[in-house]
């Protein structure tokens, strides 16, 4: 509670330009794995030894905490754009209560995206540009397709936040990330229940295991930024360069 009304700290110039501390968890996936499905990432989720080419072209997300905030901002932009489309195009295939849920989620994601833009600017850094979504692969008039993409985005978002927490250095940002990720988890649980009742936390499912879940220990997914962006890349026209983000 003590965090909630505090202004986020200024990002110092040193933090802005600081190189990543360690490459020990380095997992650049873009080259070899770009375009691979999320499931395809499972074999890499806990493996430090994949010799892959890092993404070092495209829009630089930046380094340090601001880089992580921009990374989260990118994902929230994507989710916000997706649900905006769902609300605009999928009403005819959704039940009334489902559409009401989608409208709520669209607003939550919009709030998250706008929050990050404001918070990054307030920290004295430049927010990531507006991204251009590419939803050409999604049939918005197909309920199952829409819900499955929603599930992918929500579960991926959770894995992204869970994997990025340890990369943050500022406590206030970690707390904020925690405030958002549990709402994404609430979304994910609902979407999963709409697709298949009772699947709200199916940690043993192939899709969640592909995001790093561990059913034996009751753990949700967690992925590195490179893994997440590799999976999300097909929905974003711009190429995002995560090579300067902290790696541990």
């Amino acid at each position: 509670m003590s965090e909630q009304n505090h202004l986020l700290p200024e990002i110092t110039p040193a933090a802005k330009g600081a190189p990543a501390h360690s490459r020990r968890h380095f997992l650049g996936l873009a080259g070899a794995l770009a375009g691979a499905g999320i499931i395809g990432l499972s074999s890499c989720s806990k493996d430090d030894n994949n010799p892959v080419t890092p993404v070092n072209t495209g829009i630089d997300l930046g380094s340090g905490d601001v880089g992580i905030l921009n990374y989260a901002y990118a994902l929230e932009q994507l989710e916000s754009a997706f649900y905006k489309e769902v609300v605009a195009k999928s009403a005819s295939v959704l039940q009334a209560n489902e559409l009401a849920f989608m409208k709520d989620i669209a607003a939550h994601e919009l709030a998250h995206a706008k929050f990050f833009k404001a918070a990054i600017a307030a920290a004295g850094a430049t927010p990531l540009q507006d991204l251009t979504p590419d939803f050409s692969s999604i049939t918005f008039t197909d309920r199952t397709a829409v819900l499955n993409v929603a599930k992918t985005f929500e579960d991926l978002g959770i894995a992204a936040y869970n994997g990025a927490g340890k990369l943050l250095k500022t406590a206030a940002y970690l707390t904020i990330a925690g405030k958002i990720v549990s709402v994404e988890a609430r979304h994910a649980a609902l979407i999963r229940d709409l697709i298949s009742p009772g699947s709200f936390a199916d940690l043993a499912s192939a899709d969640l295991m592909g995001l790093g879940s561990d059913n034996a220990n009751g753990l949700d997914g967690a992925l590195s930024p490179d893994q997440v962006l590799s999976a999300a890349g097909k929905y974003i026209k711009e190429r995002l360069n995560a090579s300067n983000l902290p790696k541990s």
Binding site: M1, S2, E3, Q4, N5, H6, L7, L8, F101, D104, A107, H108, L110, A111, H112, K114, F115, A119, A122, I158, N162, G163, G165, K166, L168, K169, A171, A172, L174, T175, I176, G178, K179, V181, S182, V183, E184, A185, R186, H187, A188, A189, L190, D193, P197, G198, F200, A201, L203, S213, D214, N215, A216, N217, G218, L219, D220, G221, A222, S248
Partner: protein, 293 residues
């Protein structure tokens, strides 16, 4: 004994001292260089308390705090499933409770193993005895609290489940920033991975309640929390008050200086961000359910 000797002594007694104090060696060096002499006793006390006291930033203490909550949840769901026929848990609902029970039991096992690995088995907090009526310390007494029908009344079971899950989410969220240390990156990540599972549970229980309706369901519970509403009406003022503590402060619309209500409605702004609770607030919520220690 001069100050350097004190530090040397600490290091010889406890080689990990510098590692356990955060932010570690640099802090000690800075402390040695920068501290004004008059401030030394106080500053030194703080430094030692950080290493040895039961402060909220001791990772083992935090893990044991989490373990206590998981003990509570694991036993609660074990009893719910064990009393399935008495309480009316059947079909999909029983399936969901079984899933959640298994996750909570897994969390207990995982946290126990983690604490054992970091600090030894002797540092694992023992499982307390629980009173799921919530009567510990109340006038009505242990076993006779405001939730005494929890394993015979399905609506009360759902209400208590929702409250425990939403409390768990807030508890993990409140501790995450206390384990920010590269040494504990794995612990932090696992805590976050548990945190989001608890949020999934909370969302499902809330959805179950919305679909069920009935007099204990107040208004329209959504999978997410609107304002600071529990959406629970037990008909018992003590029970309602106990539940409401879990939702205190969830109505925040200002996040790190950003007015979220300037982007979306105030209700949606509160739903978009879940709020943390500190350890004391969480303990106050669960205390009526914990008989020992």
């Amino acid at each position: 004994m001069n100050l350097q000797n004190i530090f040397n002594h600490i290091e010889s007694e406890d080689p990990e001292f510098y590692e356990r104090t955060s932010p570690r060696r640099l802090a000690i060096r800075t402390f040695m260089k920068g501290a004004a002499l008059t401030a030394l006793p106080v500053a030194l006390g703080g430094l030692l308390k950080k290493a040895y006291g039961q402060t909220s930033t001791d990772p083992i203490a935090i893990l044991n705090f989490a373990l206590t909550l998981e003990y509570l949840e694991a036993e609660f769901y074990q009893k719910a499933v064990g009393n399935a026929s008495a309480v009316g848990l059947t079909g999909a609902a029983l399936g969901a409770y079984t899933t959640i029970r298994d996750h909570e039991a897994a969390h207990v096992k995982f946290l126990t193993a983690t604490i054992t690995k970091l600090a030894g088995a002797s540092q694992v907090a023992p499982k307390p005895n629980f009173d799921f009526s919530g009567g510990v310390g109340s006038a009505s007494g242990t076993g006779n609290g405001p939730f005494k029908t929890v394993f015979t009344n399905y609506d009360v079971l759902l209400a208590v489940s929702q409250t425990f899950e939403d409390t768990g989410v807030r508890a993990y969220k409140g501790q995450a920033a206390n384990i920010m240390d590269d040494k504990y990156n794995d612990v932090l990540q696992a805590a976050l991975q548990i945190h989001s599972v608890e949020a999934r549970h909370a969302a499902h229980i809330r959805y179950m309640r919305a679909n069920r309706g009935g007099s204990v369901v107040d208004g329209n519970p959504k999978p997410w929390i609107t304002q600071d509403k529990s959406n629970i009406q037990t008909g018992n003022n003590d029970a309602n008050a106990a539940i409401q503590r879990t939702y205190a402060g969830e109505n925040a619309t200002n996040q790190a200086g950003v007015d979220i209500a300037s982007f979306v409605s105030a209700d949606l702004a509160t739903e978009s961000f879940d709020e943390p609770l500190d350890k004391d607030a969480v303990l106050a919520i669960v205390k009526p359910f914990i008989i020992t220690p």
